[in-house]
């Protein structure tokens, strides 16, 4: 029997991109389980190859995006996520998930604060890959598009670390047009191992070509760049962690 690649999608109260992210993971080949936080335990995650924290507003994000989810997750599974990563597991945070991963310090020090316009922004953006050597991006073209939808997506660092992140390739994904005031236009960041990745844009919302905002009806494309994103990770895990 073919070996399945399993992913765990974590659901908090207020997580709202779970079903489309689940659909994206499955379409890409994953055997995905949605696990509500109340059913999560420490040992569970080691049965999976990847943990995904999807988009939404965990616990409402009333204090700041991702803060309470971070506290809750920290209390619940403590350093298991770090151990999971050390053992070769992949961790992906999309939008609210990215905010949570930064708060948990699973990614290099940085934060996501209110967009410079002070407004929520729902928009399709052009993205550019800086470093393609991550399991999440290596099959994608250098430039592609995805939608964003956030109010706290402005990537900031203390002491100008953003430049460092770009130079070192940790900031693997940037906006072509800086929509929210992010330092160096950073849209996605990974850790030194490349196995933890967080991004503000929503790959799960561009799974099919039909999801595009300016469709060419004569095109034969079936999938969107979000599909290639999830397919990258799947292919990587499928062959046991090789790009």
């Amino acid at each position: 029997m073919e070996e399945r690649v399993r992913s765990l999608l974590l659901k908090f109260p207020g997580t709202n991109c779970d079903s489309e992210t689940d659909r994206a993971l499955r379409t890409a080949g994953f055997d995905n389980d949605i696990i509500p936080i109340n059913l999560l335990n420490r040992d569970m995650i080691f049965e999976y190859s990847m943990v995904v924290i999807p988009g939404g507003f965990s616990y409402g994000d009333y204090i700041r995006a991702g803060r309470l989810a971070q506290l809750e997750l920290g209390l619940k599974i403590g350093d298991a996520l770090f151990e999971f990563k050390e053992k070769g597991g992949l961790i992906l945070g999309i939008c609210n998930g990215f905010q949570i991963l930064l708060q948990l310090a699973l990614l290099p020090q940085a934060s996501l604060t209110t967009n410079i316009s002070g407004r929520f922004i729902c928009k399709w953006v052009k993205l550019k890959i800086i470093n393609r050597k991550t399991p999440f991006l290596y099959l994608l073209p250098w430039k592609f598009e995805l939608p964003v939808a956030h109010i706290e997506g402005r990537f900031v660092t203390s002491e100008n670390k953003a430049n460092e992140y770009v130079d070192s390739g940790l900031a693997s994904l940037v906006y072509e047009e800086n929509i929210n005031g992010s330092e160096c236009g950073i849209a996605g960041l990974n850790d030194e191992t490349g196995r933890v990745f967080g991004l503000m844009p929503h790959p799960e919302r561009f799974l099919f070509y039909d999801d595009y905002y300016n469709i060419d009806k004569s095109s034969n494309e079936r999938y969107g760049s979000g599909y290639i994103f999830f397919r990258s990770v799947y292919e990587y895990l499928k062959v046991g962690g090789k790009m």
Binding site: Y59, G60, Y62, I63, R64, R67, L68, L71, L75, Q103, Q109, A110, S111, T113, T114, G118, R154, V156, T157, S158, G181
Partner: protein, 159 residues
Amino acid sequence: MHCVVEIINRFSSPKDLQEIIYDRTVTGYSYAKTKVYVIEYEGEESLIKKFVEMVFADKVVDNKEYNGKPFYSDAIYIIDVELKPGVLDLEKEYAFRYKDILSNEGLVIKDLKISQRYYLFGKHSERVKEVFIKSGPINSVIHSYKEVRSIRKKKQEAR
């Protein structure tokens, strides 16, 4: 015990007051917004600071002021706006879930008040304050406000 902490986003800067008021004749003013948390607690002072860092503040984003001195010293008015009792304050509601997070270290949180602090900058004028209160972000149906002593006034008194 009583802890007052003002939290300021380091990446925000004052904006045109016209963005939040509805009287077009009042121009040339700007405003800044911060948050003030008033916490009643029992325990070590260091613990309450730890609590604030854990729950409310962000290392990268925020500056914190514990001494009660308003963050901006050049504002003409400082007005604290809070939700009236009985109006659902969702930040408070969710933050309060974590009131016991440091209880085994001996911290007991008894009460929490959150207000938005508005700093108004520009040429001194009573009218700006009036406009801000009457046709700005305050709706008396759900908000109450109080003026934190005006810095300018204090200076005059000092003379």
